[in-house]
């Protein structure tokens, strides 16, 4: 126990990240079920408005700041040193500090539930003036700000650590153009974090000053500007979407290549598109602010459309990798394919709402809720499960049950689409997001019924995953070091790897050291 609390080894910290994020995932998922129960039928009073506000605020905050983004960081923590042949991260103590700042910050956000007046209830965006009004946003809101500030600092520290590790700590022969795509995506993510997170910390500091020390940054009666908060928040917020997706693009690339038994198609294109997405994503933040009338809609619309190009490159490369490959439909591969199908819908609806005339109609409706859940839920979350099934044997030396895993996938895929596809139509019928109930008009009752039923199916799929983990741990069937015939360096060490990752490093002569060793091309 003390060993885990004080460990600075990157693999332990990676596992701590993964276990912590999965715990927050269960909490955030339970909140989602509460939200869907309230919305199951029109005029429901299961949750009152204030409880509903807290539920969707904590659900969104947790999924974004405490589940998807830190899972990617945790996975990077575990994998990047292994993939480049380093003994650990560059700064192990800093790494542990990052994790504990994250864990303490996350608990602080949830600690708001114990506060007088309840947890934060102003949405994951905490827009002013709502988040500045004293009544109804008491200690819960403050704890939210304090907790997320710690998480933001932790994320920046990890980004520095990952960047230094990937650039400086590569093993002999592991030139940058031989790094696996996952590591490249992590490098792009780290650069993006360094650009995007400081404005968020600044916004939080200004919010605290306004709330507690009589500041007026966002208060127009004293010459402040509420739209400034939106600028600062979304200058972080849109890149954050890509912080939540780029590592998972890397996961999908590795899984697709391994289970198509082919090298990654378009390696250079994959790397360049990652940096193009990272670069473009910094220039699009005001597409969240089209309806404020305070931003240049044509500019932000055009740049937002452009992001579809490098994202399209990735799709072409994944399909190119699968093309004529000997595709093996393992659970990880199924989740990767599910990712592609869902993320495609998320991407296409994204292009739709990047058009200001359409966005004026869709803004603050369930159409937006559908759009981002298809990118983050259908996209990143599916890739998260792909990663767990793919690297679980490496991390723990045992394999997750494939049969149960496929059932999990089926339930999650059907449940996910049943939950979120109807939301697009709810939005088109004008159902507003973040409102605790709705009238019985149009098809809203039917659509919401389907959506709630879908969320229950998803919950069963998630529960089955945890049963799978438990059963696999009890059976503890040992696996070979490279059970999937993966190509990258981590598959050449034992499962789980020794303390400093490799007892002897193979000679690295190309992008696919494990395949080189298997074919006898390298010792």
């Amino acid at each position: 126990m003390i060993g885990w609390l004080t460990s600075t080894n990157h693999k332990n910290i990676g596992i701590l990240y993964i276990v912590t994020t999965m715990t927050f995932f269960v909490a955030a998922g339970a909140l989602a079920l509460l939200i869907r129960s309230q919305l199951a039928f029109p005029g429901n009073t299961f949750l009152g408005p204030h409880a509903f506000n807290q539920a969707f605020t904590l659900h969104g905050t947790a999924m974004i700041f405490l589940v998807i983004a830190p899972f990617g960081i945790g996975l990077a923590n575990y994998l990047v040193p292994l993939q480049i042949g380093a003994p650990d991260m560059a700064f192990p103590r800093l790494n542990a500090t990052s994790f504990w700042l994250f864990a303490v910050g996350g608990l602080t956000v949830f600690g708001g539930l114990l506060a007088y007046g309840g947890a934060a209830a102003t949405g994951w965006t905490a827009y002013v003036p709502l988040s500045e009004i004293a009544e109804g946003t008491g200690a819960g809101q403050d704890l939210w700000i304090v907790g997320l500030t710690l998480v933001a600092v932790s994320t920046v520290l990890t980004a520095i650590n990952l960047l230094v590790t990937a650039v400086l700590y590569r093993a002999p022969g592991m030139t940058m153009w031989r790094m696996p795509i996952f590591t490249w995506e992590v490098v792009a993510t780290a650069v993006l974090i360094l650009m995007a997170f400081p404005p968020l910390t600044a916004a939080f500091a200004m919010l605290l000053i306004d709330r507690h020390t009589g500041g007026h940054f966002f208060d127009p009666t004293y010459g402040g500007n509420p739209v400034l908060y939106q600028h600062l928040f979304w200058f972080f917020g849109h890149p954050e979407v890509y912080v939540m997706i780029l590592p998972f693009f890397g996961v999908v690339t590795e899984v697709v290549a391994t289970f198509s038994h082919k090298p990654v198609f378009g390696y250079v294109g994959m790397v360049i598109s990652a940096f193009a997405i990272a670069g473009l994503s910094i220039g699009v933040w005001a597409h969240h602010m089209f309806t404020t009338g305070a931003v240049s809609n044509p500019f932000f619309s055009a740049v937002s459309f452009l992001i579809a190009v490098p994202t399209g490159v990735k799709f072409v490369n994944w399909i190119g990798t699968m093309w004529k490959g000997a595709i093996e439909l393992s659970t990880a591969m199924l989740f990767a394919i599910g990712f592609m199908l869902n993320f495609l819908i998320g991407g296409i609806t994204g292009v739709m709402v990047a058009s200001p005339p359409l966005d004026y109609g869709a803004h603050d409706t369930y159409f937006i809720v559908q759009h981002f859940h298809y990118t983050i839920g259908g996209g990143s979350l599916f890739a998260l499960f792909a990663a767990l099934f793919f690297w679980f044997p490496k991390m723990f030396g045992i394999r997750l049950g494939e049969g149960m895993g496929k059932w999990s996938f089926a339930l999650l895929f059907v449940g996910f689409n049943a939950t979120f596809l109807p939301m697009g139509f709810m939005g088109l019928e004008g159902m507003a997001r973040r409102v605790y109930t709705y009238p019985d008009v149009g098809h809203l009752a039917l659509l919401n019924g389907i959506s709630t039923a879908g969320s229950v199916v998803m919950a069963v799929g998630v529960a089955l995953f945890f049963v799978n983990v438990l059963v696999s741990a009890l059976l503890a069937k040992p696996v070979p070091d490279n059970p999937w015939n993966g190509y990258s360096l981590e598959w050449l060490t034992s499962s789980p790897p020794p303390e400093f990752n490799f007892h002897t490093l193979p000679r690295i002569q190309g992008k696919r050291p494990a395949w080189d060793v298997a074919s006898g091309a390298a010792p």
């Binding site: 192990p92 542990a96 700042l101 864990a103 403050d142 002999p172 650009m195 740049v303």
Partner: protein
């Protein structure tokens, strides 16, 4: 092979950073021309470009002296990663730093006493962490200087 060839991979990274910076400037110019406004937005884009150029220049300076093992495309021998240096495996300070940071931030809001105490404890923990890092034998990164002689036969000294 020459030194220039060895640092090629790091140059790739510098080039990627510079291209991103140039891209930021292009975006800022386009924004200025289309939006006709000098708002927070332009300032933020300026900061972004400045940050990227700072990172790139920093990388250039670092790259000048870099002779990284990872940049040698045809390593002569496979080496154990332990050669890079001994890494610490446990430290009590990170978790204490996190708890003190929480105490300091909460203290600023609700209790000046807590803030002062936590801040002092935080500084103490950071100092202990730094000291521990400095005195652990071999914990410093020896890769760069070590790799300088990696072509020579001297080994395991």
């Amino acid at each position: 092979m020459g030194c220039g060839q060895r640092s090629r991979a790091l140059k790739t990274f510098v080039a990627l950073l510079l291209i991103s910076g140039a891209f930021g400037v292009a975006i800022a110019v386009a924004y200025w021309l289309i939006a006709h406004e000098e708002t927070t937005g332009t300032a933020l884009l300026g900061i972004m470009s400045a940050a990227l150029f700072f990172a790139a220049s920093y990388a250039i300076i670092a790259e000048r002296n870099a002779n990284l093992a990872g940049d040698v495309p045809e390593p002569q021998t496979a080496e154990a990663p332990e050669d890079l240096g001994i890494f610490t495996t446990h430290s009590p300070w990170p978790i204490l730093v996190a708890l003190c940071a929480l105490g300091a931030l909460s203290g600023v809001l609700w209790s000046p006493f807590l803030a002062v105490v936590s801040l002092c404890a935080l500084l103490l923990c950071l100092w202990r962490l730094g000291r521990e890092s400095a005195i652990t034998p071999g914990s410093e990164f020896r890769g760069v200087s070590r790799r300088r002689d990696s072509t020579s036969t001297e080994r395991g000294s």
